[in-house]
């Protein structure tokens, strides 16, 4: 199992009204994870821009030891992706707009493209703010996949770093696994029994994963499991919204083909409508 740590954090920035909030949030994250921060701007470097940016950084109550500021010319997507590989970063921070159009989804916004192509973990912040909002409740996907172990581990680590007290591990179970169509009372009973069995199986599996984690990660964190029968990727987002989670931690998606993008699935549901801050764990880059 590879260890996930966010030692190098890359932040793309543009001079938008959100800049101050984005910078403050990034500094805070770097502080929590104890990592170094690389700010990348896709655009020409001018003295005004530089002083303005530095002023903002200086005004933050939280400061970081290691800050790098990179000015590069090129398309935002490529610049950021290149920089992320060049510096071998562990995490990319992206500020997201809360709502994007259906049309934009097909064209692909900058953030979405980076998220899809990034080789490292990505943190999407829906609501960067100047003031600190505590992260109390983390929702993590727990479905059966080789990546899930790393994701669960990472979420406990993040919870420790951010001081979260509660983690909900959500197992999304595809409706097709139940394989009983509910038509009448008898089929309803059968389906309910089948679901109960699946639910218990999933619980045991997820609990085993958590129990194998080092005790110092899991101690004083209240964790629960919750299984949901529904569309994978969609249900967890809706769930995170319902329980008012502060962070949603998910697996990165393997091999996204064109077809995958056409029939909205898994992570695309989340990207289409971010329920909360989302951390996408990509463990491959850390080997």
């Amino acid at each position: 199992m590879s260890l996930i740590a966010f030692k190098k954090i890359l932040v793309g920035f543009a001079f938008s009204p959100n800049l101050k909030a984005n910078v403050f949030e990034s500094l805070r994250m770097a502080h929590f994870f104890g990592g170094e921060l690389i700010f990348v701007h896709a655009g020409s470097k001018t003295p005004e821009k530089e002083t303005r940016f530095k002023e903002i950084v200086a005004s933050s109550p939280v400061q970081s030891e290691k800050i790098m500021i990179e000015w590069r010319v090129g398309s935002p997507v490529n610049t950021l992706l290149q920089a992320s590989q060049e510096f071998d970063v562990d995490l990319i921070l992206l500020g997201a707009l809360k709502r994007e159009n259906v049309l934009k989804f097909y064209l692909g916004s900058i953030a979405r493209k980076i998220t899809r192509k990034a080789k490292c973990s990505v943190l999407l912040l829906i609501n960067p703010s100047v003031e600190r909002r505590p992260c109390q409740h983390i929702v993590v996907n727990g479905f059966d996949s080789p990546q899930t172990k790393d994701t669960i581990r990472a979420s406990f680590m993040v919870a420790k770093a951010l001081g979260s007290k509660k983690i909900s591990l959500v197992e999304e179970i595809s409706r097709s696994k139940v394989a009983v169509a509910v038509d009448d009372d008898r089929s309803l009973r059968r389906a309910t029994l089948k679901k109960e069995k699946l639910r218990r199986q999933e619980h045991t599996r997820v609990k085993d994963v958590v129990k194998k984690l080092p005790a110092e990660l899991t101690s004083d964190i209240n964790w629960i499991t919750q299984s949901i029968f529904g569309r994978r990727g969609y249900s967890i987002g809706h769930y995170a919204k319902v329980v008012r989670a502060d962070l949603l931690v998910m697996n990165a998606q393997e091999n996204l083909s064109f077809v995958d993008r056409l029939i909205t699935r898994d992570i695309e549901h989340i990207l289409a409508e971010l329920p909360t801050d989302v951390l996408i764990i990509n463990s491959k880059g850390d080997d």
Binding site: D184, Q226, G230, S235, H238
Partner: protein, 737 residues
């Protein structure tokens, strides 16, 4: 061995189902003949459909209490198909239509195989109501003339509506004797049908109203035949003709037009209406099932498809599930599919034995039944009810109604859907909410690990466009569980959804589950109706209606101050515990009002609006009830006056508990319950003497509270006082036990 028990139960319930099937066949016969005539098909076509439906669906179907046969919704489409494809030759049109019916049977079957029953969810409730009303107007407009004895009035629905005054004028200005007789039969039959529900006599009510009409009019015909010696007093065009030899005269469906576009159009609209009518009826009948079973809709559709194919092959109409006949079945104690079978069997017997008498039925009598049916479908009450839900619903209703009348049924319903969508867009001031989120999943359902409750959250919007997604999730929740539906993330909820959720709420409370809707507090409705559209943006405050009290209500208020009780005249729809009383098992509770409650909450007196049966067999009732909480646990029992009906029920298996020591009590009261031993020990000499010496009420215990009803009508203040005194004395006896 495991199978033996259900089989024994089936055999035990057989007498009940034979009886119920018999009563249903009494209403199915006139309706079958009438609906066929209204569709310009030979009268026997309706009976064939009922027989094919009864036999096939009772064997292969997936519902429990439904009765199948020719449906009133189909009259208009089949009629336009016969007239349209016949091009002047009605019989040829009928043969083409038989082919269309067979094909629609196949389509129905395919619908069932691919589990497309859920497709019917795409129709907004109000648009469906509008369509049904249009069908009602269509039937009424055509049959009104026949009822008056004029069979020659032609034209589309609107022409025929316009011609109604001239038919009446014709009748008044130029009365020939046979027209007078015909119209007298028709009008008297119609008046009788309207008054029938008012007559609360159990023996009289045993025979359904349409059958009374038929029997009486056959009687009149025989009177003219045998006593006045004037056979054929009404022309042959006003009498029913049945083929002399049923098997020899079977028509053969003509598939000659199968490639024509209008043939396919008719087939599609026949199928569409058949699916809609069947599914609406199945859903409605499930709500009346005392055993609270859930029908397998897709299995039923497959069976209906096969039955329709067979019926069409033998010259019959479409087979659909019909609500009025099904509700008669429920009310007469049918409890499984065999009642449907027996209804068909009795129809076969009628046709074979009474063919001659059936041909004595004058058309105006059948037309009166159809006019009544049409009126019940299109009753102005529906429009008022819908208007109460919201003005916009009335617009949708009228749009669909008028569009259906002006064009065709399929165009009408499509325009209705369009109107609904438009209204929703106008209400939200934009369509983005719908266009952006229509195809996205919007429902989350999970079993909360801590509480064991099912939690359902709905996002974005929930209307007829995507209600099927919510339904699919709700259907997976066992109805004896606790379900919470949360709309706080949902910006818009429409009438179709609110009404659909109300159905769920009912079925949950019937099975001792809980169904809660939360998160609608932030939404605003335009009216106070529980099914009104909800929208999360605040708009305008609703009007406050100040209702003035009636005289009876003022007296009730006075009574409440004397007793120092609380009085609330407003209707409330919270009646959860009432549905657990046996009395309401096959009845439909609307709301209770004039609530009078004692301070310690032990006594609750209220007027209740409820109904029995459905559609043309529906009877709306209002009665005063008294519900008291008893200090001690009691066995579950019901105590009723013994009469003719209870005797019949005893024949079909419900047992009366008699006491040898108390012949007077045993003779006068009909006592029943499961735990006979406990009931016997509960009815002490003192209690029996109490019942013998006091006025008789309908009394029922559900274990910890008693329900008392005096008559099947509202009680006067005097009667209420008597009821209260009765209850107080009874409570004293129970306290001393």
């Amino acid at each position: 061995m495991i199978k033996a028990a259900p089989f024994k139960k089936f055999l035990g319930g057989l007498p009940k189902n034979v009886f119920s099937g018999f009563v249903v066949s009494l209403i199915a016969l006139p309706l079958g003949l009438g609906l066929a005539i209204a569709s310009e098909a030979p009268p026997i076509a309706g009976i064939i459909a009922a027989i094919a439906g009864g036999i096939v669906v009772s064997v292969l179907g997936g519902s429990h209490l439904t009765i199948t046969g020719p449906g009133n919704g189909l009259v208009i489409v089949v009629l336009s198909s016969i007239v349209g494809m016949g091009g002047g030759d009605l019989y040829q049109g009928y043969l083409y239509t038989l082919a269309a019916i067979m094909l629609s049977g196949l389509l129905l079957f395919i619908f069932g195989v691919f589990r497309l029953g859920a497709l019917s969810e795409f129709f907004p409730t109000t648009a469906l109501q509008g369509m049904l009303a249009a069908i009602g107007v269509g039937i009424l407009a055509k049959q009104f003339h026949v009822m008056l004895g004029f069979t020659e009035v032609k034209g589309n629905t609107i022409d025929q509506l316009i011609l109604i005054p001239s038919s009446i004028k014709n009748l008044l200005s130029n009365p020939s004797s046979d027209i007078i007789l015909a119209s007298a039969i028709g009008i008297l039959s119609l008046i009788f049908l309207f008054l029938y529900a008012r007559i609360r006599n159990s023996i009289f009510q045993l025979i359904p109203a349409p059958m009374w009409v038929v029997i009486a009019s056959i009687g009149v015909m025989y009177y003219y035949d045998l006593i006045l010696k004037t056979p054929e007093v009404l022309g042959t065009n006003l009498m029913i003709t049945l083929p002399d030899n049923l098997l020899a005269s079977l028509p053969s469906p003509d598939f000659g037009k199968i490639l024509d576009s209008d043939f396919m159009g008719y087939t599609l609209s026949i199928t569409l209406v058949a699916v809609i009518e069947s599914l609406l009826s199945i859903k409605a009948v499930d709500k009346l099932d005392p055993l609270k079973r859930r029908s397998n809709i897709n299995k039923d559709l497959r069976a209906l498809g096969i039955a329709t194919g067979i019926s069409g092959f033998f010259g019959g109409l479409n087979v659909v599930t019909v609500i009025a006949r099904s509700s008669v079945n429920v009310n007469n104690g049918g409890n499984n599919r065999s009642a449907n079978f027996f209804h068909a069997a009795f129809l076969v017997v009628f046709i074979l034995l009474f063919a001659k008498q059936i041909q004595k039925i004058p058309m105006p009598a059948l037309a009166a039944i159809l006019v009544y049916t049409g009126y019940r479908l299109a009753t102005p009450e529906n429009l008022f009810r819908i208007y109460k839900v919201g003005k916009e619903q009335a617009i949708i209703f009228l749009t669909t109604l008028i569009a259906t009348l002006m064009t065709s049924l399929t165009t009408g319903i499509l325009l209705g859907i369009l109107a609904t969508l438009l209204v929703h867009i106008v209400l939200n001031k934009s369509g983005v909410l719908f266009s952006r989120n229509w195809l996205k999943p919007n429902v989350l359902m999970y079993l909360e690990e801590e509480t064991g409750n099912y939690y359902v959250s709905v996002k974005n919007f929930c209307s007829f466009l995507n209600f099927f997604k919510l339904k699919a999730k709700l259907d997976e929740i066992p109805p004896n569980a606790h379900a919470i539906v949360d709309f706080s993330l949902c910006e818009f909820v429409d009438h179709t959804v609110m009404e659909g959720l109300n159905d769920y709420s009912r079925s949950f409370s019937r099975q001792n589950g809980f169904f809660e809707i939360i998160g609608l507090d932030v939404h605003e409705a335009k009216t106070e109706h529980p099914f009104a559209i909800r929208k999360s943006l605040p708009e305008s405050s609703f009007l406050n209606f100040q209702i003035s009290l009636t005289k009876r209500q003022k007296l009730l208020q006075k009574l409440s101050t004397i007793l120092d009780w609380n009085y609330l005249p407003d209707p409330i729809s919270n009646y959860d515990d009432l549905e657990r009383f046996f009395y309401f098992k096959t009845k439909w509770i609307n709301y209770r009002y004039n609530n009078l409650e004692s301070k310690n909450k032990e006594f609750l007196l209220f007027d209740l609006s409820y109904s029995e049966g459905a559609f043309i067999a529906k009877e709306d009732l209002r009665s005063t009830f008294l519900q008291i909480k008893t200090p001690n646990k009691m066995p579950i029992f019901t105590l009723d006056k013994e009469n003719f009906m209870t005797n019949i029920f005893q024949l079909s298996g419900l047992q009366d508990i008699d006491f040898k020591k108390h012949p007077d009590f045993s003779r006068r009261f009909y006592l029943r319950g499961e735990d006979i031993k406990a009931i016997r020990s509960f009815f002490t000499d003192e209690l029996i003497y109490f019942f013998e010496s006091h006025p008789t009420y309908y009394l029922e215990s559900n274990g910890d509270s008693l329900l008392i009803r005096s008559k099947e009508r509202l009680a006067s203040i005097q009667e209420i006082k008597q009821m209260l005194a009765f209850a107080e004395e009874l409570l004293k006896i129970l306290e001393n036990k």
